[in-house]
């Protein structure tokens, strides 16, 4: 919900009950005033009638009813009472329809005779006036509300312009690009402060980012260089004449160990880089295509274990992801499947619109399954394993908005890794 809609909604929630109550109250007040006026009118007419009765006392024979709004009838003393106002309906003899009227009844003594006087006044015009007034007021209110809304929106847009600019710039900002974030100057203190705070924050984040990046580069250099010296030393040593078989094998073992150290170091640095979001460049990647390339690469390795690949991934989903990371993710999973798969079994690759699944037959995990994606958790039977491959898979999945799950079916003796994702649009 946009800020403007939220504000308008609140405004409406507050104003509509007030407006409704106001309209009802107004209608009631108008009615009261009209009643009061009619009552005054009737009272003054009564006074006139009484004066007329005093001036021209009617004979018992003829009571003149001057108009149809006035009725004078002889009354008994017992009926004597103070003037009473009532609302009632009468048949209008002229228009021949029932109309609501205000009626005043009084008993008036003339000499020793008493007369009951009944006066009535139709509401007709007064009611119409009240109606028109009410409608007018409601219309005015609606118009006022609409104008308020319109002006409010315009003002809102204008006043919040810097705010929207800030949001837009922020959404375009990428920490791995060197351009610093800047905001337009604003004369509103809040926006100026917001812009300043964000600029400071992003500057700090960018500084930390570059520090971290430099750290991984330096660490890489500092660790790989001594390993290189060791490695070349051993390369030279291995070519020396007069080595015994045991010597050669010791040298070979040292070389393998150096390689393992180096690949562990590379893997840890890769984890740090992923953590530090150094792979922000994303693009639509056809996973099926990538898997095809990888299966080709690993075909000799799989063939040496007499393993075959069974592809049933008719759906070839495209995922928006960093290409390098996608490559590492899938290559780790496939290599994992070959490495831990039972020789002469098959590796299944299946896909749907939202997932990719890689399964291999093999022994159950030698450690609790919740530890599978943790760092340095590995099968002790495989000394060359760094125990980082699946940790990297998990890290890549987390950073790329994918989910990776592992299930083991004891009956089939089958491990399945499933990657779930949102397919790319279009």
């Amino acid at each position: 919900m946009k800020l403007i809609h939220k504000t308008t909604r609140y405004l409406a929630v507050v104003t509509i009950p007030i407006a409704l109550a106001g309209a009802v109250l107004l209608y009631y007040l108008i009615h009261q005033v009209i009643n009061k006026e009619i009552d005054e009118l009737l009272s003054s007419e009564l006074k006139q009638v009484q004066e007329n009765l005093d001036r021209h006392p009617p004979g018992t024979g003829g009571l003149l009813n001057w108009d149809h709004n006035l009725q004078i009838t002889p009354a008994r003393v017992a009926d004597s009472q103070p003037p009473v106002f009532t609302d009632t309906t009468l048949l209008d003899p002229i228009e021949n329809k029932v109309v609501s009227v205000r009626m005043l009844r009084a008993v008036y003594p003339v000499g020793k005779d008493y007369y009951a006087i009944r006066l009535h006044q139709p509401y007709l015009e007064f009611q119409e006036i009240a109606q028109y007034l009410s409608i007018g007021i409601v219309l005015c209110f609606i118009a006022l509300f609409a104008i308020l809304l319109f002006i409010g929106t315009l003002l809102f847009r204008r006043v919040l312009q810097p705010f929207y600019t800030i949001i837009e710039r922020l959404s375009q900002y990428r920490i791995d690009q060197h351009a610093a974030i800047t905001f337009p100057a604003s004369d509103v203190d809040e926006f100026r402060l917001l812009g300043q705070s964000i600029t400071e924050m992003t500057q700090q984040a960018a500084y930390r980012y570059s520090q971290q990046k430099q750290f991984t580069d330096t660490t890489s250099h500092e660790l790989q260089t001594p390993l290189s010296i060791l490695s070349t030393d051993l390369d030279l040593l291995q070519q020396s004449a007069g080595l015994t078989e045991a010597d050669s094998q010791r040298i070979h073992r040292s070389q393998r160990t150096i390689k393992r150290l180096s690949s562990m170091n590379q893997s840890l640095l890769l984890l740090t880089k992923i953590d530090n979001q150094q792979f922000l460049q994303v693009e639509p990647v056809d996973l099926g295509n990538l898997i095809g390339v990888l299966l080709d690469t690993f075909s000799d390795y799989a063939a040496s274990k007499h393993m075959t690949f069974e592809r049933s991934d008719q759906q070839k989903p495209v995922v928006v992801i960093n290409r390098q990371l996608a490559f590492i993710l899938l290559s780790n999973l496939i290599r994992n499947a070959i490495r831990h798969g039972r020789p002469a079994s098959s590796i299944g690759i299946a896909s749907g619109a939202h997932y990719y699944a890689i399964r291999n037959q093999g022994e159950p995990l030698p450690f609790p399954s919740e530890k599978l994606f943790q760092r340095f958790v590995r099968n002790p039977a495989l000394p060359q394993s760094t125990g980082l491959g699946l940790a990297i898979v998990k890290e890549i999945a987390d950073q790329s908005g994918l989910r990776v799950d592992h299930t083991y079916s004891a009956s089939a003796g089958e491990h399945t890794f499933t990657i779930t994702f949102q397919p790319a649009q279009g």
């Binding site: 250099h221 390993l227 290189s228 060791l230 490695s231 030393d233 390369d235 690993f298 063939a303």
Partner: protein, 226 residues
């Protein structure tokens, strides 16, 4: 063939120099960018092996300088940084190859040889070893004058071993060269054995002596000696 090696780490520099000199290259060494810049200005080299992280700057700037002066030298970057950005930048600037430390010396040798073949002789140079002749541009192998057909992997194996003849090549070194770096931590290098066996079978089937010798289960040596 003259090589300039730019590397600031003394032990590493000495080791690379010793290995390459044993491979009959003429190797000059410097340990910083300033000296390197002067050297490439004063002398012509066939190949320049340059470290990226140097005490007085980035090795990439040397590549820029070489390209500005239209140098004909082949350029191989050696770097401790396994960064795709560096690799792309380096190759974009005009480097011919990129090796990540730690690397095997036979691998560096193979890269330099391959680069030299591509550059100087337009790929037409033939490699001769005993009764074997390789035509790298056509990926053709002859025993005496008879062409034998090899798979691309077998060809790559043979070329790599001839390039590093008379040297013990461990299974890891060969696997990394032929199958790529991501294969080196494969738990078993059995697949290598299969390919070597097939290669030997094809060679001996054409009357070629068995040059490929297994050594202690560690690796192989290609040698004409018995």
């Amino acid at each position: 063939m003259k090589i300039l090696l730019i590397e600031d780490e003394p032990e590493l520099r000495t080791n690379i120099q010793r290995y390459l000199e044993a491979e009959h290259f003429v190797v000059s060494t410097v340990n910083n960018l300033r000296q390197a810049s002067q050297k490439v200005n004063d002398y012509a080299y066939d190949c320049i092996v340059v470290d990226i992280m140097l005490p007085d700057g980035n090795g990439l700037s040397l590549i820029e300088q070489l390209k500005e002066t239209h140098s004909e030298a082949g350029i191989i970057i050696i770097s401790a940084r396994n960064s795709l950005d560096d690799r792309i930048t380096g190759l974009d600037l005009g480097a011919d190859d990129y090796l990540i430390k730690p690397f095997y010396l036979p691998e560096l040798n193979a890269r330099i040889r391959s680069l030299m073949r591509r550059r100087q002789y337009a790929g037409e140079q033939q490699l001769v070893f005993g009764v074997l002749t390789l035509w790298p541009k056509r990926e053709e192998v002859r025993v005496h004058s008879q062409v034998i057909s090899l798979t691309p992997k077998e060809y790559a194996l043979l070329l790599f071993m001839i390039t590093n003849k008379d040297r013990l090549l461990t299974k890891e070194v060969i696997a990394e060269h032929v199958w790529g770096e991501h294969m080196t931590d494969a738990d078993s290098l059995e697949f290598l054995y299969t390919h070597i066996r097939n290669l030997r079978k094809k060679l001996s089937g054409s009357g070629c002596p068995d040059y490929i010798k297994s050594r202690y289960g560690i690796g192989y040596v290609l040698t004409a000696e018995p």
